[in-house]
Each structure stands twice: as C-alpha cells, then as structure tokens.
Symmetry: C2
Subunit: 349 residues, 2 copies
C-alpha cells in the first residue's frame, strides 16, 4: 500500500470553528461533467436603470420612492423575513413542537448609486464608505434592546439567489443568535477558555508561517483559503489583531479591510473573467450585552463555481445528508488565487 | 401588541434531530420573485438512449461496458469520491491542520433498465426490487471490516446536480461516520438514554395524534413534513416500529416502504406537474459493529422548489452564514401535499 499524499488521496479534514469534518476527494477533480450549466450574463449594465428598484430616485415594489442618493443608501427591506413587532406569546408546547416568536429588522444596503458597479470595480475609498455603514448599522441595530445579533451579508449573482445586479447587501438583525453563529461561538469559547487566546489569532499565525493557503495580506488583514474550506474557492478574511467586532476598527483598519475586499473580489472576477458569484458575510460578536473575549472578527466568502463560469459545485445528496465534500484541495485553490492579478480584467491599465 | 399566530408571525422552531433552530417567515411567502428561474425539461425520453452511460449494454465513460441488464443494476462509480486502498499514514499534525485519510466505496444503482422511468412511474413491486438491493448493499458493504457507514441516496433532476435522467441513486460507504449522521446519532442517543425510547418513535406518535403534518400513512410507514423542515416541501419517511436499519425489515415491510415511496414521489410530481427534483437519502444505524438501540430508520426528502417548477428556494447568504430560513410553513406545505392525488399526472387512469 502506498503512503499518504494529500494531493492524491481521499481524506477528511477537521473544521475547528464548527467542530465538524469535511471530505476531500482530490482524485475526483477531473471527472467529466455532463450536468446542468449556469448562464453567464455579461451584458454591460447602465449606470442607472429605470426598472431597478434599488436605483436612485426609483419606485420600489411597495410603492415607496428611493431618494436621489449618492454613495451608500440603507433602507428597511420591503419583504423582510423578520418583523419589529413585539408579539404576545404564551409558552405551552410539547417536547417535539418547540417554537418561539422571533423579532428583528431586515435592511438592504445599496453600495453605490451606480447600477453597473460591483465591489471589485469600486474604489477602495468607496468600499470604505460601505464598511463605515456596516459599522454604523452594527452599532445602531445592536444597541436596540432586543437585538442580540446583527448578520451583515451579500448575495452576489443570480446563481446565489440575488435577484438584482445593483450592488447591494443585506442585514438581518434579530433577537436570537442564529444556529451557525452560536456553534462558532461555542467552539471559539472552548478554545479561549482552554488557551487564553483567540482561536483565529492562533490559526492565522500558523497560516502566515506556512504561507501555502494565504491569498492576500496587508498590515491589518489576511485573506486565506481555510484548511477546512468546503466551497471550491472559499476564502476567509480575518483581522490580524483580535477585534471582537467591527466597532473596534479604526479608520485605518477599515481602509485596510476595504483594500483587501477589493483585491480579493478582483481576483475572484479574474478567475473566470466574469462577475464572480458568491455569498459573503461577517461573523463577529453578538450584540447580546454579554462580554465576548472569545470572538474574532472575520468574513466568509462562499463562491459556488467549480471548474469554470458555467459549472458550479452542487452541495446535494451526500452533502445534505452526510457531510460537505470537495474535489480540488484548498491548497490547489489557494495557489490558483495567489497567481491571479489584483488588476481587474475589465480595467484598461 | 397582537398575539402570536404561527401562520402570520416570524418564529423559530427547534429541530431535535440536529439540536438546531430554524427561522420561519410565513409573512414573506408572497414576495415577488424577479431572480433566477430554473429550466423545466419535459421532453419525452426514450426507453433506451444510445448515449446514456447508465443504459443497458452501453459503454461507460471509463471504457467499460454495462451488461445487458433488466431491473436493478449496481456498479462501482467510475469517478468515486473515495478509494478502497489502505493508505499508509503517519500522524504528525498540529492543532489546526488535522486531517486523516478516508477509505470507502462508491456505487451507482440503476433503478431500472428503462431510461424513461422515475420512481413514481415505476410499479411498487419494481421499487421493492430497488429496496431489496439497498438492503443487500447495506449488508454487503457494511460487513466490510473497515466500513462504518453506508449512505444510500438519490439526486433527482439537473437542479440537484444530477447529470443523467436515467433513474439511479448512489451509495457512499466509508470508514467514518459522516458529520450530519454523527450529530443525528448523538441527539438520538441522548434522547434514548434519557427516555428509554426512540426519539422518532415518540415523535411520530405525537404527529399521528395531531395529523396536521402527516402526508401519507400505511401499515408500517408514515410520510410527514417535519415540524422543523427547512426546504419548502421537505418530508421524512419513518418506519412506525423502531427498526435500527434496513436489515430489520421483512418482505412485507419493504413492500410497504416501496408503496409509500411511490405515493410520496407521485404527489411530488403532481405538485407542479413536472418530474419533481430532490435529494433523498436514508439515515439509519452505522455499520461500526457497535450496538445502536438509539437509531430509528428514516428517509429524508429535500426538494429545492418553492413556488412553481421554475422558482427554487435559495439557501444562500443568511442561510449559509446564520441559519436555515423558510417562508411557507410546514403545516401549509403538508396541507398542499395531503390534497394531491396519488395517481400520477401522466397516467391515463
Ligand atoms: O456523483 P455525481 O452524481 O456526479 O455528483 C453529484 O452528487 C454528489 C453527491 O451528492 C455531489 O458530491 C456532486 O457535487 C454532485 O454533482
Ligand atoms: O432577500 P432576497 O435577496 O430576495 O433573498 C435571497 O437571500 C435570502 C437571504 O440569504 C434568502 O433567504 C433567499 O432565499 C434568497 O433568495
């Protein structure tokens, strides 16, 4: 029997943030694909689209009109998943029918008045204005008495359920800490209590020594393909110092963060020379009023594409029932991302 | 403030199988959809397709030729995610780089030689032949010394990553117990140790009293929309008696199982009058040689469609980062499924 080679042999890896294993099958990377392919829509978009409900000055689905805005614009989602109302509720449930009302606020954040832009095509200074608003919103929503968690995220591209190309993200702020965040928190807490340091701080130190999975680095942030990544080109952006949440970042740090976001999303676009789809979002300390020394600010990028602009990874069957599975290894993906330019393929320079 | 109504107000529900909460937003069910739509491919397929690598007598991608088979046909997956080889491995890993080789066997099961069929269009007696093979395979693979878990599943439809319409499923048998199965097992075990009975046995007893979420029932099995279902039309098929795994079923029970599978998948097809996509798979006791009195055989159906044949539920952004979210309530879905016929829309009767 031959000896183990992680570029060749199926193996499982451990994710300490979720206390879960994933399956890696490098030998499977070259299987032929005869299945569903995605549409690649690369029309040139106008700077203002009269039919877009996110564009400046336009009418929204619910009849309200957007102001004539420049830069970042935030409003309450017209079809939110949560409601602000305080609902009267009398607990009287059996073992198997456990349910409780959930209060919260859903907001939409337009990143720019320019309909045709995306994060990588914006200037770092303009991305910083988005980061400023993320900070303000985290503060404003988090200081509501009943809000324990503020989830900031972006779905980009129609393959990620995004129904409008206008550059925008969302915030779902709610009374409870959501399942995946709570799990992450529990694992960070266990680590913190055992070692007196942040799990992610210790982890990125090791990654910066090895270098293999680092995609980008600046003074304050690092972008890497986690050792336990499940999506083909999944990455994580982590602050070098242990900040528990976005409130702790200075102006300089917010600019560093904006720059690494610009460079990372530019590399993504350059990978297949398309507007690269993903879901991305921030994990940080909840706003439940408790101390959270275990938390370490980070942002996940989950892009679905696998081989090219048309073939995505399907997380189905085995993945839904058993555990996440990937073909190309995190190290192979990191190498590909490392070698890509930070100059956007559409730019003239 | 108004009082709580689960058909109207956002709430969270508890899933005891995974010890996780989900978010339900019934008020959001009618939001307009302007996003990506799925292709509905309803061409009539031939009984034998010369280009199909699963059809009887045809050449496969790797150059092997299928025998001329009738009924069910099993073979090793040409592009498996696992390898049988016993790989030499010396542990020498740090905290954050935990990895181990994983051995296993991947098989493909053609449900019929007829390229144009699907489970709901097969006779119950012919579905039973598939169930017989699931039983044989679980026994054969599970009795391999190094195999601790046998995952039986089906990805149906191109939207679920299925690249070939020929009716078929898969088996991934492996050395470890996969993450989601292990989590389910831990929760069943806690319940069993506390109550001396099976979590699912007690659960379906309660559901059979309430009736609200029951979709189908026969002598030995029940199909229902779990109280904590996340996919719009998610269901679970559970054996009425606590069988730990498929080996414990008699011929009569296997026929009951086949009948409920036929009726459930027929209702699914009738919902939007299309070949209804889903991932489905069995959860049952692992084959790790240990006693598993906590286990109770069940099969999950995870269908992605939401409003119609073209609009699916996107589990993205918030769902990937925070927690699963649904709009239509499990009770509303159950009612819709209850009212559908068990006569297939394509049949002449
Ligand atoms: O093996 P298949 O059918 O080609 O592949 C499909 O099912 C597998 C198991 O659910 C997934 O890992 C793949 O992403 C999916 O495309
Ligand atoms: O609110 P949107 O953008 O219309 O909806 C999209 O993002 C949400 C949050 O990730 C998901 O729940 C929806 O399934 C998805 O279509």
């Amino acid at each position: 029997n031959s000896s183990f080679n992680q570029k060749k042999h199926p193996h499982r890896r451990y994710n300490p943030l979720l206390d879960e294993w994933i399956l890696v099958s490098p030998q499977r990377a070259n299987r032929p694909w005869q299945g569903q392919t995605e549409k690649v829509a690369e029309e040139k978009l106008p700077a203002h689209d009269p039919n877009c409900y996110l564009c400046s000055g336009n009418l929204r689905v619910n009849g309200e009109r957007n102001p004539v805005y420049k830069g970042v614009y935030v409003f309450d989602n017209d079809f939110g998943s949560l409601m602000k109302d305080d609902i009267e509720f009398s607990e009287e449930q059996s073992d198997f029918f456990t349910l409780k009302p959930e209060r919260g606020i859903n907001r939409v954040i337009c990143f720019s008045e320019n309909h045709s832009l995306t994060l990588p095509e914006m200037e770092a200074d303009d991305i910083k204005k988005v980061v400023d608003v993320w900070q303000e919103q985290y503060e404003e929503l988090g200081s509501e008495d009943y809000i324990s968690h503020v989830q900031i995220f972006e779905n980009r591209g129609s393959v990620m359920g995004c129904s409008n190309p206008h550059p925008h993200g969302q915030i779902w702020a709610q009374a409870s800490i959501p399942s995946t965040v709570l799990k992450t928190q529990e694992n960070m807490k266990k680590y913190y209590e055992k070692n007196g340091s942040s799990l992610l701080e210790d982890y990125i130190k090791k990654e910066l020594e090895v270098k293999e999975r680092i995609v980008l680095e600046n003074e304050d942030f690092v972008a890497l393909v986690p050792f336990w990544a499940i999506w083909p080109y999944e990455t994580m952006v982590v602050s070098k110092r242990k900040a528990e949440n976005i409130l702790q970042f200075s102006d300089a740090e917010k600019l560093s963060f904006s720059k690494i976001l610009k460079d990372l999303t530019t590399k993504y676009d350059n990978l297949f020379e398309i507007s690269f789809p993903y879901s991305a979002g921030i994990h940080q300390s909840p706003t439940d009023g408790k101390p959270h020394p275990e938390w370490h600010f980070h942002m996940h990028f989950y892009p679905p594409l696998l081989r090219n602009a048309e073939v995505k990874k399907f997380m189905v069957g085995y993945e839904m029932l058993a555990e996440p599975q990937r073909d190309i290894t995190p190290e192979q993906s990191a190498e590909i991302l490392q070698n890509l330019s930070v100059v956007h393929y559409k730019s003239d320079k």
